[in-house]
Subunit: 292 residues, 2 copies
């Protein structure tokens, strides 16, 4: 059994990005510039955006953080998006979700210029992904594909069972893994809250991806001997043994599942660290071969 | 066992569209207008486009057929697309595929204004479909959903196995049937040429959709007792008993499969007649509440 080390892989990929930025500078190419819009003071969002800004600094990108109070009106936010769309110095940008309830998230996402949509949430990018065309892939699915590639896990012809059909993880993963590509060419079964006989379906999986957000949901008796397990869950659960009083729990009961697996991602340190790398990769792609 | 009568359902839906056009006229709303671009003289394409024009006439739409020789350059075709994009009298239009090899189909499809893309092939429409947002659905998947609805076939929690992952049938159907919607909420398994153990997977299917284009591929031993079978195949095969010398064959061995089914679509007369209706429905949607 191999534990997939997302921390190590992401560190290597990050280092490669840093080298690429140095190379770009030496060639007179534009320094990649990522902007982030943060609305309100949600604790989780603050943490995520701060991490993204820090990542940019570490690889040598320019980053811009634009903050608005949670009282901002949709029209004002749309104007801010439009300004970033038109700013040639900004290669890519994100609007950190969730947004306050009075703002329609779809309207905001659809207002982003698809060529700057480094989160890969715009319908054009989702559609291109489904059609197998070049696009910005969403962070978690792309990070998982890269882990699979790094560990040379065979996917072609294998049965992949995905639990969870969210727009940003389960559904795009199902599309990507069933495509004629590598990684890809899986027979994919997409399961969700309405699925019946889940255990029997999971027991058929060569590759099992848990992305439903229920701590330790996937138990050992749902795992076929030799399966690959990708755990996307990251739920905060109370803990008596950590200083903060909580720990991150995956969707997989690791202790039960791990002995049966060929490969498994831990939580934390598996899929999580990869998602931040994808944002950097997408921003690099957005910068393309623009000159300084 | 019930034979799903696509001819009957499509005739009813067509009649409802005709009534709606009369109602629109009486309210001073715009007469729907579908345009079609046909490049070259491919026999199949000629037949399909002629049928679409005839459908328009029958329901009271305006139709415009724009023909180009197969020597047309991509830039000229893009200019023609742009003209239709800007023509306020045209509500929706299609570019009949396939196009000659020297033209990049993706470039043409992406040039179509998504709000006039009544084929539902533009990445924006595919992406919106994946995100559960309002869009133009592609003809075959939408036609199948409507047959399922018409016959009140339960989909929620049922296992749907789809054979074939094309961009216009299998992949969008997998997305649509796994969504939280009705019809929908299926556990979907998407199979294709690389799938191993296909028979065992098919035997689990409550709903089995064959869309791979191989005549009589799905045999009786692959069908679970009581399954619903949707046959998307329409391949011309030689026939000694028809005047034309050929007949249409589905992907399902009907005689073997039918006795085991609860519902089954015949070929011809099942899914096929529905696809033309969807184009009319999408054009009606495109016309919206525009005044004359």
């Amino acid at each position: 059994m191999t534990i997939i080390d997302g921390k190590k892989v992401s560190a290597e990929l990050k280092s490669a990005i840093r080298d690429e930025v140095i190379r770009r500078n030496s060639l007179g190419l534009k320094q990649p510039h990522l902007a982030a819009i943060l609305v309100g003071n949600d604790g989780g969002s603050e943490t995520y955006v701060a991490a993204k800004v820090k990542d940019c600094e570490e690889v040598g990108y320019i980053s811009t953080l634009i903050r608005f109070p949670d009282t901002i009106q949709e029209t004002e936010l749309l104007a801010a998006v439009d300004q970033l769309n038109m700013d040639p110095s900004v290669d890519g940008f994100i609007v950190q979700l969730p947004l306050p309830r009075h703002i329609n998230e779809n309207n905001i996402i659809e207002a982003i210029d698809p060529s700057k949509d480094v989160d890969g949430f715009h319908p054009v990018n989702i559609g291109k992904m489904a059609l197998g065309l070049s696009s910005y892939l969403p962070a978690t699915p792309s990070g998982i594909l890269q882990l699979i590639e790094y560990y040379k896990i065979e996917t072609s012809g294998r049965h992949c069972v995905i639990i969870g059909r969210s727009n940003i993880v389960g559904t795009p993963l199902a599309i990507l893994l069933s495509r004629k590509s590598s990684p890809g060419n899986c027979t994919v079964t997409l399961c969700h809250s309405q699925t019946k006989g889940l255990k029997e379906i999971c027991l058929q999986a060569d590759i099992l991806i848990a992305a439903l957000g229920k701590p330790a949901f996937l138990t050992g008796d749902m795992v076929k001997q030799g399966a690959v397990i990708i755990d996307v869950g990251t739920t905060r659960v109370p803990s008596a043994t950590t200083k903060s009083g909580f720990r991150l729990s995956g969707d997989v009961n690791f202790d039960e599942a791990a002995p049966k697996c060929s490969f498994i991602t831990p939580v934390p340190g598996g899929v999580g660290p990869m998602t931040r790398i994808v944002l950097l990769q997408n921003t690099l792609k957005a910068a393309g071969d623009k000159k300084q």
